[in-house]
């Protein structure tokens, strides 16, 4: 009886430490993964668009269940031909096709097509207990010279990111210098100051290639890196998404037991 009460109490205590906004954020993210038609859980296909992409029987085997259709790059325009007619496909927006959705993202000439079906039974994200000691406030040193680089974002789509500088802070008791890139949100004035990092939990609890973390500005050159908010790239949920390569220099020589875990199927 006493043991049972204790068993109930322990997770309650661990959970109670998670700030309510973070708990809500995680619950919302999980719900989105499980239910959204455009969630990585629902991804069926993710490839560069080279020539015509043929959906339906006789097309790419991965797309055999879709209604017959052809997606083609015509000059700079993307055109989808279906039995119902022809239409232009916008970028970065989900377009319905039968019971499926198509999204074209990426830069001009490097269009990436993702096809989404019914969200499948993927493993929902797991999280380490909240750890107040990995909420790291530090500074962002500007880069010595402007630099932009094409790299994969969380969703496996190539974007042009600009070097935003080096985050300097005390991570797990040691001075750390982590490279930060500004990753744009297409079609908005928004962007994220991202750190893609590796640590000693990779492959032993967290996703082997590493995790992403967005910095929160605190004013002036001060920024917060809250490793409880470290997230997996989409390739951790679904093998159709390509995985970003770890960024040079962003390996933390400690086990950051915080943020998202990797729960293999």
């Amino acid at each position: 009886m006493r043991l049972a009460a204790l068993a109930l109490l322990v997770p309650a205590l661990a959970f109670a430490q998670t700030p309510p906004d973070l708990a809500a954020e995680r619950a919302d993210y999980t719900r989105w993964l499980e239910t959204s038609p455009g969630s990585p859980f629902a991804g069926l296909y993710h490839q560069f668009l080279h020539d015509d992409l043929v959906f339906g029987p006789g097309g790419d085997p991965a797309l055999a269940e879709l209604p017959p259709a052809t997606l083609r790059q015509e000059r700079r325009r993307l055109v989808l031909r279906t039995a119902d007619g022809t239409r232009t496909v916008p970028r970065n927006h989900d377009v319905p096709l039968g019971g499926f959705h198509i999204r074209v993202a990426g830069e001009r000439g490097n269009a990436v097509v993702t096809v989404f079906g019914t969200p499948r039974d993927a493993v929902v994200p797991g999280w380490y207990p909240y750890a107040a000691e990995v909420v790291v406030d530090g500074t962002l040193e500007p880069p010595s010279r402007p630099e932009s680089r094409r790299m994969l974002g969380l969703d496996g789509v190539t974007i042009e990111a600009s070097h935003a500088g080096t985050f300097v802070g005390a991570v797990a008791g040691q001075a750390a210098r982590l490279t930060v890139f500004r990753m744009p949100e297409p079609g908005t004035e928004e962007s994220e100051l991202m750190i893609f990092f590796r640590d000693e939990t990779n492959g032993r609890g967290t996703y082997p290639p590493g995790r992403f973390l967005a910095l929160r500005p605190l004013g002036g050159d001060r920024y917060r890196a809250d490793f409880n908010r470290a997230r997996n790239p989409f390739c951790a949920y679904n093998g159709i998404f390509p995985c970003p390569l770890p960024w040079a220099g962003n390996a933390i020589a400690a086990a950051i037991e915080a943020g998202e875990k990797y729960v293999a199927k």
Binding site: L78, P90, H93, E185, E190, R216
Partner: protein, 401 residues
């Protein structure tokens, strides 16, 4: 033991009474989005008519209705912004609302903490030294790009807008204190805040977008010399041939430049999108022009570049836009806006196409003027001047035979 039982019974009774009685949420609310860079202030107004709860979201005196306002459970309220796949969800406790603003992007949901208290934000008199027109440079160190800041003092406090080469960012409202200012625009989709301070003759500050994007800017008082590309210089048009188009209307009928209704008329071709707030700002001016000058020989055609490319979905959006503004001229489904298609479908135009872009054709069907963007009501005098300029252009072209 008995006392404890009585206490529990009392608490249950109180709970049951509470369950029957929901806190009334009608009235004005002073609302806040807590961005990483500070508090973004706006107003919410909720009201019940015939038992139906409704509401509006306001920046100064510019208000837009929520698509729906729903109470659920005993103490929760959802202010829905269906047009933007966004919503504010909050818990009602006494005289406060606490919750989140949420929208959904391709990489998952994004939330910003939201809170509100009863009543209105106080109107604070603006600081005279800030009022006026400023030539700003956004992101001066990384990737400089020009903007114009317009600040005005009104009875409601500091108002103004940000103008770029392709239009304005809507009405900003806020306050100033000593040499510092903070003003914001939140329309349910765009989350913008401008903060800064006057340092000598220079304004320095941050443009905030969403929860945590911060873009530095510097600005100096406008000299009167053009800082932005002139709106008539952004988009270039081929003026040697008649301007042509052929697109289906929302009713599915093909409407082309060869149709009799356009022959020998002065024609305005208006490139719009129902997703574009500046186009919403410009629509009343087009409706007004059409009412005043249709009988004198003006025709207008709106070419809508929508979001999905799906005729049924886009058609519904365009019909709602038409009904919202009482548009009597044809609106055609010209394509999707993916930053490329408008250029593809308008081979006679060159340069980046702004939304809206207003093209004036003379009675022979040739392009005489192309105006990129629109100065909305938030720009005050510029808005009035632009409307006058449109009227003068139309009158001049009508006078030609």
């Amino acid at each position: 033991m008995r006392a404890a039982a009585v206490l529990v019974a009392l608490m249950l009774a109180a709970g049951a009474a509470g369950a029957q009685q929901r806190a009334d949420v009608d009235g004005p609310w002073r609302a806040t989005l807590d961005l990483a860079g500070g508090a973004l202030r706006f107003h919410i107004e909720l009201s019940t008519t015939d038992g139906r709860l409704a509401g509006r979201l306001c920046n100064a005196d510019a208000c837009d209705p929520f698509s729906s306002v729903t109470r659920f459970a005993r103490d929760s309220v959802v202010l829905d912004l269906a047009d933007y796949a966004a919503a504010i969800r909050a818990r009602v406790t006494g005289d406060s609302l606490v919750g989140f603003y949420r929208n959904v992007g391709n990489r998952g949901p994004r939330t910003i903490p939201f809170r509100a208290a009863r009543g209105a934000w106080p109107a604070e008199p603006p600081v005279a030294a800030l009022v006026g027109r400023w030539d700003a440079t956004f992101n001066p160190a990384e990737r400089p790009s020009p903007r114009v800041l317009e600040f005005r003092g009104t009875a409601r406090g500091l108002e103004g807008t940000i103008i770029s080469n392709s239009g304005d960012y809507g009405l900003f409202w806020g306050r100033a204190e000593a040499d510092s200012f903070s003003m914001a625009h939140f329309d349910g989709s765009f989350v913008y805040m401008l903060t800064g301070r006057l340092a000598g003759d220079t304004l320095e500050g941050l443009f905030h977008a969403g929860l945590r994007t911060q873009t530095p800017f510097v600005a100096v008082r406008s000299t009167g010399r053009p800082h932005l590309t002139a709106p008539t210089e952004v988009v270039r048009a081929d003026t040697t041939d008649r301007f042509t188009w052929a697109f289906p209307s929302v009713a599915g009928k093909l409407v082309t430049s060869d149709d009799p209704r356009f022959q020998g008329k002065v024609v305005i071709v208006d490139i719009i999108g129902t997703w574009c707030p500046t186009c919403h700002d410009a629509a009343p001016a087009m409706v007004d022009l059409y009412r005043r000058y249709r009988d004198a020989g003006l025709e207008i055609v709106g070419l809508a570049y929508e979001v999905t490319g799906d005729t049924a979905v886009d058609g519904a959006l365009v019909r709602r836009y038409r009904d919202k503004f009482g548009i009597e001229f044809p609106l055609l489904l010209a394509g999707v806006n993916d930053g490329q298609s408008p250029g593809e479908t308008q081979p006679q135009l060159s340069g980046p196409i702004a939304f809206p872009t207003t093209i004036f054709l003379d009675r022979s069907g040739r392009v005489r003027k192309v105006h990129a963007g629109f100065y909305g009501p938030a720009t005050g005098a510029a808005h009035e001047a632009l409307k006058r300029e449109f009227v003068e252009t139309v009158r001049k072209l009508l006078a030609e035979r």
